[in-house]
Symmetry: C2
Subunit: 488 residues, 2 copies
């Protein structure tokens, strides 16, 4: 086998290693390119290329024509970086960083294929995803050929903002100007931008109790101090707002998460009046408004606002897929410019491909046809779930929040709140993924929280027959827990 | 034409309007469903549906069977929200919000089709985009059918992180573990996460002068105080670091932006030693490392680090398209968990579709084939540009930073720095988009800044013949500016 002569890359690497090992000391001359080429049996061009690379990286110095010399490179022992308690060095964090480091995100145990039914909220059935329609839209979007590829507008593609403006009016009776819309990477980024721009570290924010955990966490990470206000079957108890002041409030008036209440108009007006009194902003997270069963869509809080008090937040996570990271803020006109700049600083803009694919779905009506189809499927799942709960558990359970959305809360009358974690853990062993309501309360002992085990049962990813089998297991579990006295 | 009877929605709207107008006062009974149905000539079910909707929204009250009554709704005049100086009400901003509101992003005049040549840096030619390959990858990615649609891992899809780990080793001699990689929405989000987690408001950061403006702005928006350190033809002048302390430094060692220097190894080691002394972090933005012409790739600073001092930042904006918002951080192991949590709080995770499409490109080798093709095309553009500049402007210009990347800096010996804005403005009138270097300096009067007009000429979106025509116009412009004496 012939030995292949060294290429420029090989010569470069060999010389670098020799310099590193001290074979050539700083200031020492390297062989001339002619000499080295002859020695290695390669062309002089090859050696010159290697030298130029070493030169460009600063390992050697030497102007054209002059002999290359090894550069003066600071050496000596490298001090160890300071190490923290855990034995791992970590550069100092900002106070934001320290708060993030202390944040424990909700555990999301991987959905096991071995579970009979996994009632995890937020998941959707893959079979419901409009694959063909989405693929066509994505292919059409990928086919767009602008003259040049440039960064898009930070607030989002104009076509998408126009399509959303029309959609919001058709579907949500929400009137706004295109300039009020900022496209974000899912509702989470919308919340994060609100937290950063409106909440000063040490400032207060009002949040429903119980609430959507990732919202509470993003405001807390921004340094906000939570003022939990009880939510009941009608959503946030706005009568409790009297005397409170906060720059920001986070609410889910169309379908309180997790309890499921639809906020009545009297509370809506009370909330708006409160916001105006504190010159605060209310974030209306309209996360699942596509899903209504026995009632027509309730217009958003936004539609009642007169000033700048509402920031409306929408998402496609519940209608299409949580992996498509697209959401949108509808902002008071005075806030739109600062949110646009913040979005640009945060990540320039949402990805073009998804923005254009979603535009195609909205403009063609395919989005709304898909939502109607999804609503029918989820209505069927919901009916199966409610029937199974009623049939197998009867009045041992109370079901809340079933008018809308993709989940219900089930309260178990005979099981104490303290036993919730065991109940959930045993459920997993028996083959069902169920999720406790406890962690969604800020104060586990709050008077607001019933002394019963409660579960958030998401049904959007579970097929009707799995729902029936899952509820059968749940019923057995309830039987076991109710007869068995609590451990002392 | 027959009058179509009112549906439930119409009845609901009419009643709501009447309640709003005071036709029915709070506490007043509504007509019974039977009576109203008879009056309107519709079924009782229709009226009941309308009443249920009003009930669910809280406009009326009344349990099953009882007569529906108008709910007590707080009314009265609504106070105006406080209005700020500009006459537009704006809810109070956080200090971060105030800084963002003061941020003026670099102006990006829309690229005009009427320009003979637009040398805007950051844009790519649409013709270079691997449309077919990308479309196939996206289609394959869109075809993935997981069992259920769930949020992905915040750090990014495992397959993509694995593919990047291998790519970084092959292409950049960068060895890291998969767990050190966090996928972000383009390098801008990587910078923003670093700013938030590592920079305390009031803390200092070292930045090259001149520098990439969006980096300086994101650190400044986080409340950081910039310590500009001069960059010369070899990148950051690390000799100027002695005596400075900062938690964070931002550098572009492979190809200093904008001046184009490749940092020699002596400076690299000096920078690392400095970072260890201050227990600081150096962000290495390797934004255009795919593009090398006369020199082989320079290994990243990261490859020389021993501790936790480097955060490596990569992007596909220069290799594929700026509209694909995907980038990646390679973090010190001790920092990876806190960045992962911060990414989850910021927007849960990068979009699934692009992540999977990029994985397919990386795994199949198509990404690197495309990079090689792009490199050849840009080498041709670069050669055309350099030849045209040399032929038409000769020694009236100095060209810097041409070894790598997708732009060069051109200094005009006969034109004073103060005339740069006029020069650029006249260029646009004459049909070329050229961009001044001035705004990239922190101190326009800095000793570092030559007293000559300078332009950042991006060539990646301009075809060779347009380059030639553009440089011809540039040469005329130089002629006009050099003979004409500066206005007093």
């Amino acid at each position: 086998m012939a030995v292949r002569p060294l290429g420029a890359r090989g010569i470069y690497s060999a010389l670098k290693a020799q310099i590193g090992a001290g074979v050539y000391r700083p200031g020492a001359a390297l062989p001339s390119t002619r000499a080295l080429a002859a020695e290695l049996g390669v062309s002089r061009t090859t050696v010159t290329a290697a030298y130029e690379q070493l030169l460009s990286e600063g390992f050697i110095s030497g102007r054209q024509g002059a002999r290359a010399r090894v550069a003066a490179i600071p050496a000596g022992p490298r001090p160890e970086a300071a190490r923290d308690g855990a034995g791992q060095a970590r550069p100092g964090l900002s106070r934001y960083g320290e708060r993030v480091a202390e944040t424990v995100l909700p555990a999301r145990p991987p959905s096991s294929a071995r579970l009979v039914a996994d009632f995890r909220y937020g998941d959707l059935a893959a079979a419901d995803f409009p694959s063909d329609i989405w693929k066509r839209a994505v292919t059409m979007a990928a086919r767009r050929r602008p003259q040049r590829l440039s960064y898009d507008a930070p607030a989002g593609a104009q076509e998408l903002r126009q399509a959303l403006q029309a959609y919001l009016w058709r579907a949500r009776s929400l009137r706004c100007e295109m300039d009020q819309i900022v496209i974000v990477n899912g509702s989470q980024q919308g919340l994060d931008l609100c937290a950063r721009l409106l909440l000063e570290p040490g400032g207060s924010f009002v949040i429903e109790d119980p609430c959507y955990g990732m919202a509470r966490q993003v405001f807390a990470a921004a340094g906000g101090i939570a003022i939990p206000v009880e939510a009941d079957q009608d959503g946030l108890r706005t009568d409790r707002l009297a005397g409170l002041a906060a720059r920001l409030a986070y609410v889910t008036p169309s379908h309180q998460y997790p309890l499921g209440g639809v906020m009545p108009v009297a509370r809506r007006l009370e909330l708006l009046a409160w916001a105006r009194r504190c010159s605060g902003c209310v974030i209306e997270d309209d996360y699942d408004s596509e899903y209504r069963y026995d009632i027509a869509p309730v217009p958003p809080l936004y539609a009642l606002a007169e000033g700048n008090e509402i920031i409306y937040l929408g998402t496609v996570s519940k209608a299409l897929s949580p992996t498509i990271r697209l959401g949108y803020l509808v902002l008071p006109p005075a806030l739109a410019p600062v949110f646009t700049t913040a979005k640009a600083l945060a990540d320039r803009h949402a990805p073009g491909l998804e923005q254009h694919a979603l535009t195609i779905l909205l403009e063609s009506g395919a989005y709304e046809r898909h939502v109607r189809r999804s609503r029918r499927r989820n209505a069927e799942r919901r009916a199966t779930l409610l029937a199974a709960l009623s049939c197998r558990l009867g009045d041992r359970v109370t079901v809340a929040g079933a008018d809308a959305g993709l989940h219900v809360v089930v309260w178990f009358r005979d099981i104490a709140a303290a036993r919730e974690p065991d109940f959930v853990a045993l459920g997993r062993v028996k083959g069902i993924g169920v999720y406790p309501i406890g962690p969604l309360y800020m104060h586990a002992d709050a008077a607001a929280r019933p002394d019963m085990a409660g579960l958030v049962i998401g049904y959007a990813s579970v097929e009707p027959q799995e729902i029936e089998r899952g509820v059968a297991i749940l019923a057995e579990l309830v039987g076991a827990f109710s007869t068995e006295p609590p451990q002392p």
